[in-house]
């Protein structure tokens, strides 16, 4: 499928038991390929996949104790909801009574009892999503793989499902590996996440670590807004050419003549763009020393009219020095081993 191109080059991950772990990255970064290798749909040309210390790299998908929630749900269209959920237990020849009990339990957990006789074609997007989850969870796998499962849902439903997924994972104590390109989703739900770019891991850490201390300029740009200053633009602020990033919500807009403290960095510039987003406003400021910074301000006392008037005015930006993050360039990958431990 990928021909000669290496889809995933340096992915060396250790995922802990009972962890909600996200693979975050833009499309084409290799996150889905990683997931498909763990599930057994694709065979890695090099490296290993360990599940509970056991090498499963060469096992076919149906012999691995992992289950997948597919992006398009992949529900069997000719089976009812109940038959879909029962499928995994049926092919593993679990006894009928046991099967019935577990199916009923899974349906109840996902609040699908009323719909058990429906066919997937008669369900809404959100309902299909819950059937796909029930169908995977009923098998009580060691690891549940989720491939952008909320991508097809609208915003409100997506936010509800984020909370629901997280609570299911905590309740069942199951390891979830979650693939997404949505940084908010990854930050909301994960215990830890890995940011992937062009088949390489850029950074692994807790949501707070990745957000507050991005290791590379890619991570800084992909997780949150891209506020990276480098070279002369960086020197104009800090006196050093080393690239740094600062989160848009940490920056304060001030009048030009305002005096700054010793523990603060400051820069002057012109407001180029003002985007009013209701609860807050996004300002894009061209700096006098070169480069641009995005600033987020809550609309505490300003109306939309007042906010929009700031376009084109000269302004001073101030932020605390502790919010500056120096960026390292992406490190070379250490190996090509991929581990799923529990």
């Amino acid at each position: 499928m990928f021909g000669e191109v290496v889809a995933v080059a340096g992915v060396d991950l250790e995922i802990l038991q009972g962890e909600f772990f996200s693979l975050l990255g833009p499309s084409g970064c290799g996150k889905t390929t990683c997931l498909r290798m763990i599930a057994g749909f694709e065979e890695p040309t090099a490296g290993r996949i360990l599940l509970l210390g056991q090498d499963v790299s060469r096992l076919p998908a149906y012999e691995r104790d992992v289950n997948t929630v597919f992006q398009d749900y992949a529900l069997f269209p000719h089976m009812t909801v109940a038959a879909n959920v029962e499928y995994g237990l049926k092919v593993k020849r679990i006894r009928v009574q046991e099967r019935r009990r577990r199916v009923r339990e899974a349906l109840r957990m996902m609040r699908l009892e009323r719909l058990e006789r429906r066919k997937p074609g008669e369900l809404s997007g959100g309902q299909r999503q819950r059937v796909a989850l029930a169908r995977a969870l009923v098998n009580q796998p060691r690891v549940l793989l989720l491939d952008e499962p909320l991508g097809a849902l609208d915003l409100k439903l997506r936010q509800q499902m984020q909370i629901e997924l997280k609570s299911i994972q905590e309740r069942m104590g199951m390891t979830f590996i979650y693939v997404t390109h949505d940084q908010e989703e990854a930050l909301t739900m994960s215990d830890r996440l890995a940011v992937l770019n062009q088949g390489r891991v850029e950074q692994v850490g807790s949501p707070a670590e990745v957000y507050e201390r991005p290791a590379t300029s890619f991570v800084a740009g992909f997780v949150g807004a891209s506020n990276v200053l480098a070279g002369d633009a960086a020197r104009a602020v800090t006196g050093q050419a080393a690239a740094f990033t600062v989160r848009p919500e940490k920056i304060r807009l001030a009048r030009l003549e305002e005096i700054t403290g010793a523990d603060e960095w400051t820069a002057t510039g012109t407001v180029r763009e003002v985007v009013y987003v209701g609860a807050f406003t996004r300002y894009i400021v061209d700096l006098d020393g070169g480069g641009e910074l995005v600033v987020l301000q809550q609309n505490l006392a300003m109306s939309s009219m007042q906010v929009l008037k700031t376009r084109g005015t000269a302004i001073r930006l101030i932020w605390n020095k502790e919010h500056n993050r120096l960026l390292a360039e992406p490190a070379e990958p250490k190996g090509t081993e991929e581990e799923v431990d529990r």
Binding site: Y62, F70, V91, N139
Partner: protein, 295 residues
């Protein structure tokens, strides 16, 4: 799916299109209709207007042993060719759909080609092949050679139907089945087969219909065997047999029409067994799913 409400064309264009469609349908079906009328002609000679209506030629046909033998031969040939087509056509479709191999496109092309190839060429080729086979292995013209001859174009019909269905079935269904612990055989039995069942039925029915009224290839491969279309062809010139020929013709038309009708119905979208493309992912209206989630 109400497309009738779209009124992009002006009224005059719509009326004109209806008239043209009607004329085309008339052109196609009036000749058949004429035969259906002559079937009830009480006289042996054909002339307008009919002097009355009678079913006597139905009895005559039923009691005609030649016709009955030909009918049985046609059924046997159709069933035989359809069976071969179902096995070979679906296996070929699975192989071409599932695997990428050298010459895959060529295989697909050569499988479909017999449908377009003039029947007379296929017939000639089969005829000389059977002759050579007769010299080398003692093969003779028989029902079996008719079946093989018909299978050449019946395989195409099954193959086309099955591969179209396989292409429309989401690839992730197979992966989902494996993911849930089903091996290849279980996946085939529980997921693939139910999804292609109606396509197999439709392909089989169409293949049977094709075989049942085939004459060109049959003429070259049948030897002394007489199928229904062949009987018609042989007796068409005999004025005495004309009324019986009419009845047989009607039987052939019906025997083709019924399978084609059901094949059409089976391949129509929304049978519940098929993955329905984008339509399948559309949320049905009126389901308060948000309420269910937050309940």
């Amino acid at each position: 799916m109400s497309r009738t409400s779209r009124t992009i064309e002006p009224r005059s264009v719509r009326v004109a299109m209806r008239i043209v469609s009607g004329l085309v349908l008339l052109f196609l079906y009036v000749p058949l209709f004429v035969i259906f009328i002559y079937v009830f002609n009480p006289l042996r000679s054909q002339s307008w207007p009919l002097t009355g209506l009678s079913t006597r030629w139905f009895y005559a046909t039923w009691n005609n042993s030649e016709v009955r033998t030909a009918f049985v031969t046609s059924i046997k040939a159709g069933v035989g060719a359809t069976t071969i087509a179902l096995v070979l056509g679906s296996l070929a479709a699975f192989a071409v759909h599932r695997f990428r191999f050298f010459g895959r496109e060529a295989v697909s092309f050569f499988l479909v080609l017999p449908l377009a190839l003039p029947g007379i060429v296929t017939g000639m080729a089969l005829n000389s092949a059977i002759n050579i086979g007769g010299q080398l292995f003692g093969i003779s013209f028989s029902l079996l050679t008719i079946i093989v001859g018909h299978a050449t174009f019946c395989v195409v019909v099954v193959y086309n139907n099955v591969i179209a269905r396989l292409r429309r079935t989401s690839a992730s269904l197979v992966e989902a089945s494996q993911d849930l612990g089903a091996d290849g055989l279980q996946t085939f039995r529980y997921v693939i087969l139910p999804n292609i069942a109606t396509a197999l039925m439709a392909g089989g029915l169409l293949a049977f219909a094709l075989s049942f009224d085939e004459i060109v290839v049959t003429n070259f491969t049948a030897g002394a065997e007489i199928t229904l279309p062949k009987w018609i062809f042989n007796n068409l010139r005999l004025p005495n047999q004309r009324p019986v020929v009419n009845v047989v013709a009607m039987v052939v038309v019906l025997a083709s029409f019924i399978p084609v009708y059901f094949a059409q119905r089976l391949t129509r979208e929304g049978g519940g067994l098929i993955s329905r493309g984008e339509e399948y992912w559309e949320a049905p209206p009126g389901e308060a799913e948000a309420a269910a989630v937050s309940a």
